[in-house]
Amino acid sequence: MGRKLLLEKAHVEGIRTYDVYRREGGYASVEKAFKNMSPDQVTEEVKKSGLRGRGGAGFPTGMKWSFLAKPEGVPRYLVCNADESEPGTFKDRYLMEFIPHLLIEGLIVSSYALGSNRTYIYIRGEYAWIVDILEQAIAEANANGWLGKNILGTGFDCQIYVQRGAGAYICGEETALIESLEGKRGNPRIKPPFPAVKGVWDCPTVVNNVETLAAVVPIINLGGEEYAKIGVGKSTGTKLISACGNINKPGVYEIDMTISVEEFIYSDEYCGGIPKGKRLKACIPGGSSVPILPTNLLLKTAKGDTRMMNYESLADGGFATGTMMGSGGFIVFDEDQCVVRHTLTLARFYRHESCGQCSPCREGTGWMEKILKNIEYGKGKMSDIDLLWDIQRKIEGNTICPLGDAAAWPVAAAIRHFRDEFEWHVLNPVESQSRNFGLAHYADPRPVPVA
């Protein structure tokens, strides 16, 4: 049984309410930080913990905080990125819905560390019911003196505001989020300047993911060094994984990043294996934007090591034979799944969500979708596969924000690892519609189930 830090109390009855949360030890980190630690000491603990941003990029949180400019007389802002919109990623929703005070507590401590008197939760508009839950939690925290003026007599004032997004995936990108928060169209800004220098209303700003900010609570409670002992290497602490697709037990799991991918998929504690005893074909381990891996590279690295559920192991081999931890959106495909169709679905999503500011993303995502559509619906040509490869190559790295990369990587990985499936679609336009094309990508260590 893996160690739980974030979801340990998530199933306590009534934990959503302040009274139960407090009774279970809630807000202890605020007391500890405000009474015994300076803001810089809180930042230092976060640095010691080795916490990496849980939104997808995995940048060290403490380091990000230390980049925050601190000019005199200029307000600083902390923004919680709750614009969770990546297909396959739904962990923050779970955390906010079932244990909202954990996020509020993390936000208060983080605001203290960063000197943010006004902190925002920018939340995906579609999470409408969670807005109510968060506002209720904020009201309770206010009523009990954890927010407002002169918190715990420290002279520190802090208020948290919830801002709903209008339903654009791009607003999860930190600079687009800031634009949207300011009431403008959610277009990414060109960096530099980075938000740490010029963010919300041109003031220094830190944007962190929900899970990242919630993780500050156990870091302060345990101490940074103790937190860093959990996990392995630079993948410290625990990580929420939202598992879905062809697994017996889809849901949000908290892992300590020392388990293998195989264990995560097949053990009863987590995904519980593939339904109907089918074989594993592929998996996207970090949300739809990260490269898909076929079974042979998913369970073992190219060097033959066991692939573990952590940042380093999943990225082992780069994109040629590896992938990314990303936001932890773990999507499993069984043997009946069509990679071409799934790639088309993702391409359609990214095309729809491209903000349209820069040419490669605006035009390239649409082009990729159209070609994939042709291949999927039996109108593709062999040359289309190479064309797709070339288009994604010209998008990747050439756009304002990472949405271009997010659109390019799934297509690149699908062609890299499943090119034969694309070719089969082109050569067998009628049969490919039946979905029973029986291409083998398994290399699954488990025996083939007997029918």
């Binding site: 654009a168 791009i170 169209r185 060109i190 095309r351 729809h352 969500e353 491209s354 903000c355 349209g356 500011q357 820069c358 040419s359 490669p360 993303c361 605006r362 035009e363 390239g364 995502t365 649409g366 082009w367 159209k370 064309l387 190559r393 010209k394 998008i395 790295g397 050439n398 756009t399 304002i400």
Partner: protein, 359 residues
């Protein structure tokens, strides 16, 4: 004693130059000039916040600075990246840059019709120049292009959304030059478009400048469009005492007739001074202006073309090939275009058409 300005040494395509701190790579390259200067479709030095969108100016930074000589992993938008001391930049000497730029041109041309022969911007189009320099002769795109109706944005401006490359220049212009912007970008991704949302008119005193900043033929001057071709006109610098703007313009004349008035542009195609609508649209008499002299036009510009001395015309062979028969006219321009009056037969006009012919 004036404070000494901090100078940074930057090397672009093996040419080293010293520039003031805070200068962008693009502007440093422009100081060197020639092919070293990356193309720019959305950047406009006179518009704050512009640039970074079209990605045509991507360059490779081979060394970040003397202090940190590591290369930048990705190509960067030269218009929005400032130079550092000791920075080494590769523009046309980088294969990555050339490859990326080819890609950008291909993307830009997906939804931009290659109708240069009939486009009102022909001869003045930056995308046309860019596609000559970095484009391919064919297209790999085989799907339907976006289509839009032509749209009148008030009495002076017409929008051809099919040609728009969403550079945002006109939006920045309206934001920064007028007191109330009524147009902007609607929708996202490849279905994004310039629009006024509900059929509004662009009628601010300075809104005509959106025509000058448009790098392609998306925003056109309704008082000029299709009345003539730019290479038939002779640009002359002129000025007038205007209470609203500097009054410094370029008149585009044919004989003594003023066909078009634009702001004066520099060698990068950017206006030197914004001009008001009155100067641009309503002062079309030579007597309204004090003529300064011919505008200096780059030798490479299409406007300079066709003025050769001692030109030898190729032999006309069509009649010869067709056994003395003249080519059959298959298309009547009036069937497909609303440019001219149907009762005016262009082929019967001796010499180039003049506005007198349409009165």
């Amino acid at each position: 004693m004036a404070e000494e300005k901090k100078l940074f040494k930057v090397t672009i395509d093996n040419i080293t130059i010293e520039v003031e701190a805070g200068t962008s790579i693009l502007n440093a390259a422009r100081m060197i000039g020639g092919d070293v200067a990356p193309p720019a479709m959305c950047y406009y030095s006179k518009l704050k916040g512009s640039g970074g969108k079209c990605r045509t100016c991507l360059v490779e930074v081979a060394a970040g600075s003397t202090a940190d000589p590591r290369p930048m992993p990705k190509l960067v938008a030269s218009c929005r990246t400032n130079v550092m001391d000791g920075m080494v930049v590769k523009n046309i000497t980088s294969e990555r840059v050339i490859d990326a730029r080819n890609g950008v041109v291909e993307f830009l041309l997906i939804n931009h019709p290659l109708d240069c022969p009939i486009c009102d911007q022909a001869g003045e189009c930056h995308l046309q120049d860019l596609s000559y320099d970095h484009g391919k002769e064919g297209t790999r795109y085989e799907f339907n292009r976006r289509t839009f109706q032509k749209h009148d944005l008030g009495p002076y401006i017409q929008l051809h959304m099919t040609r728009c490359i969403l550079c945002y220049r006109c939006v920045f212009t309206a934001d920064q030059l007028t007191n109330k912007r009524v147009h902007g970008i609607l929708d996202r991704g490849d279905h994004a478009e310039i629009a006024t949302y509900i059929e509004k008119s662009l009628d601010n005193d300075f809104i005509g400048n959106v025509i000058d900043v448009c790098p392609v033929g998306a925003l056109t001057d309704r008082t000029f469009r299709f009345k003539n071709r730019v290479w038939f006109l002779k640009p002359v610098d002129a000025h007038r005492d205007c209470p609203k703007c500097s009054g410094k313009v370029t008149l585009w004349n044919r004989g003594d007739e003023v066909y078009r008035v634009t702001a004066r542009k520099d060698q990068w195609g950017e206006v030197e001074d914004w001009i008001c609508n009155e100067c641009r649209f309503e002062k079309k008499q030579t007597s309204d202006w004090v003529i300064e002299g011919p505008t200096k036009i780059s030798r490479q510009s299409v406007i300079s073309q066709g003025h050769y001395v001692g030109i030898k015309k190729p032999k006309e062979t069509v009649v010869e090939v067709m056994d003395g028969r003249k080519p059959r006219l298959l298309m009547d321009i009036h069937d497909v275009s609303e440019v001219n009056k149907p009762n005016v037969d262009l082929s019967k006009i001796a010499g180039p058409a003049h506005s007198e012919d349409f009165k």
